[in-house]
Amino acid sequence: MLYRETGQFKISYAADQSVFPIAQDRWFIAAALAFAFLVVPWIANEYMLQAVLIPLLIFSMAAIGLNLLVGYAGQLSLGTGGFMAVGAYMTYKLTTAFPDLNIIVAFLLAGLVAAGVGLVFGIPSLRIKGFYLAVATLASQFFLLWLFNKVAWFYNYNSSGTITAPPREMFGVVVTGPTATAEVRYTVALSIVVVFAIIAKNLVRGRIGRSWMAVRDMDIAAEIIGIRPFQTKLMAFAISSFYCGVAGAMLVFLWLGSAETEAFSINESFNVLFMVIIGGLGSILGSFLGAAFIVGLPIFLTNAPQWFGAAMPIDLQKHIEIMLFGSMIIFFLIVEPHGLARLWQITKQKLRLWPFPY
């Protein structure tokens, strides 16, 4: 009853084009952001931050990146893990070579390198579409991981072959490395994700997003009205890889602390793709929902038996968890093939009429 737009008239195109045209949405988002920035770091415990919230943010970032490519530009990619690895290893090289460099700047530069790599691996999209393109992007996944394993320069010739986040400070606070607190890492990750989610939203509602969607929906018609398909696809690959690269850097430097190439295996690529599909193709909000689903569900399933006082052998629990996880994915895809974002949209539609639906 509270959620309705009655009486909210748009008198300018600018107002009509805003991201949240309904005032209640704006209040909700503002409240959620205030809660995430100001309240969560104080009330959440170490486990909550480290096991749930930080990975949620990082995978949201990667899912946004992949959603730009798959959901908006319609180019199926399985190279996410590879592009994330580029971001992580480049940040490592940058921050060990230039210890004074601000770590955020290192993230962004690493993201740019990932964008360049994505650009190169996007070239096959000129000729190949759909599943075949997905197979072609697998090349980037395997080649990049092989490269980072094989060439010792990327991990500074250390004997273990892992990259480790060194302690780096920002405004006098330790942001990365073993001494950085979870609260700080959470806040940094949240800031990055919020800024880049807004940028992604701006991109998709403007000229660039429209040309992506045009290429996705009907590439012939897109070319007829003057869109250059190749440049448009390459730009989608570059920007998507930028997001994935920054997410990969965050994965190592704000969450795991140290990692091998194993952290960016093909499984991660599939995980991020599942997030995008379950969350909703072509929806920024869906990227968050999908990440929350994939990151949160296993944790929920692990902990749920204990809440009900049911104790069971750990291996049985693990198997039940996997089975439930799989069946829930299938359930969601059958109930709503357009993802959680679409469910959310339907709920909002219903809420507008509630309690007087016609």
């Binding site: 940028i199 429209r210 045009a214 929906d217 018609a221 007829i224 009205i225 003057g226």
Partner: protein, 288 residues
């Protein structure tokens, strides 16, 4: 033919009477002398299949030019040649005085050629407004960084083009479906949105591939009115393919007839209607 048009013509009849016995065409006084697009000796084949052979005709600035012919005559191939999808093996295309080189379709768009498709080619996942806004893409200049901020010049630009898109939405009377995803719209409205998207590019030459295929009489009348209005108000040159002969004869200033990839007639609707080759192509050869 639209009802209003019929009455307008019958009203004009008494004035036209003394001048001659020829039946009045859509606008008898229209004169076109500036050639916008000239096609000369164009031949196109796919392997052994000849789609067009040695076709020559021109399209003048400001006219409505119809391309007709039986199925498989090469009409759609002709449009595809004009907007750069196909590259003819022989012949030249002169557009606005320049002989065209081999190029991609997006170049044609930049030079002011827009088109609609026989089977609708809208962006199904986008709203009507977004579809029409894509027609404005070529006119939008702001780069990646401004777009990322969606603020200042990028937003101003967006609003300027939104105003133009709204102008087109008004013109085509599709205000109510502005924010509807086009995949959900009925066929007739989708055709109209597709016309809107082509118009948003402010084309000089508008190619319409069977704009009225599969429509009922009322929808055809609406579409005919829009085509006449576009030609009238925006001065857009129009080349259209259409199978409904009564509409073709009423709308167009000149008609070119193709059959088996060859041009068999070219002229005003009356000349074409009287041409024996055309009658033969459409009705078959008389025996006995």
């Amino acid at each position: 033919m639209t009802v209003t048009e019929v009455s307008a013509e019958t009203a004009a009849q008494p004035n036209a009477e003394p001048e001659g016995d020829g039946a009045p065409t859509a606008a008898p006084e229209r004169v076109f002398d500036e050639v916008l697009l000239e096609i000369s000796g164009v031949s196109l084949s796919f392997g052994g299949v000849v789609a067009l052979s040695d076709v020559s005709f021109d399209i003048c600035k400001g006219e409505i030019r119809a391309i007709i012919g039986p199925n498989g005559a090469g009409k759609s191939s002709m449009l595809n040649v004009i907007n750069g999808f196909y590259h003819p093996q022989q012949g030249t295309i002169t557009y606005k005085g320049n002989v065209r080189k081999k190029m991609r379709p997006h170049r044609a768009a930049a030079e002011g050629i827009a088109r609609t498709f026989q089977n609708i080619a809208l962006f199904r996942g986008m709203s009507t407004l977004d579809n029409i806004m894509t027609g404005r893409l070529l006119k939008m200049r702001r780069g990646l960084l401004w777009q990322a901020l969606y603020w200042g010049p990028a937003r101003d630009e967006e609003i300027v083009h939104r105003e133009f898109a709204e102008h087109i939405i008004d013109f085509l009377e599709i205000e109510a479906i502005r924010k509807t995803v086009v995949g959900q719209l009925p066929y007739g409205l989708q055709k109209r949105v597709e016309l809107g998207r082509a118009l948003a590019a402010e084309p000089e030459l508008l190619l319409l591939d069977e704009p009225m295929a599969g429509m009922n009489v009322e929808e055809k009348e609406d579409m005919s009115r829009f085509i006449i209005d576009v030609n009238d108000e925006f001065g857009t040159t129009i080349a259209l393919i259409e199978h409904d002969m009564s509409i073709v004869m009423d709308l167009s200033d000149r008609v070119v007839v193709l059959d088996y990839g060859r041009k068999i007639a070219d002229g005003t609707p009356d000349q074409v209607r009287a041409n024996p080759a055309v009658i033969e192509a459409y009705l078959g050869v008389g025996h006995g």
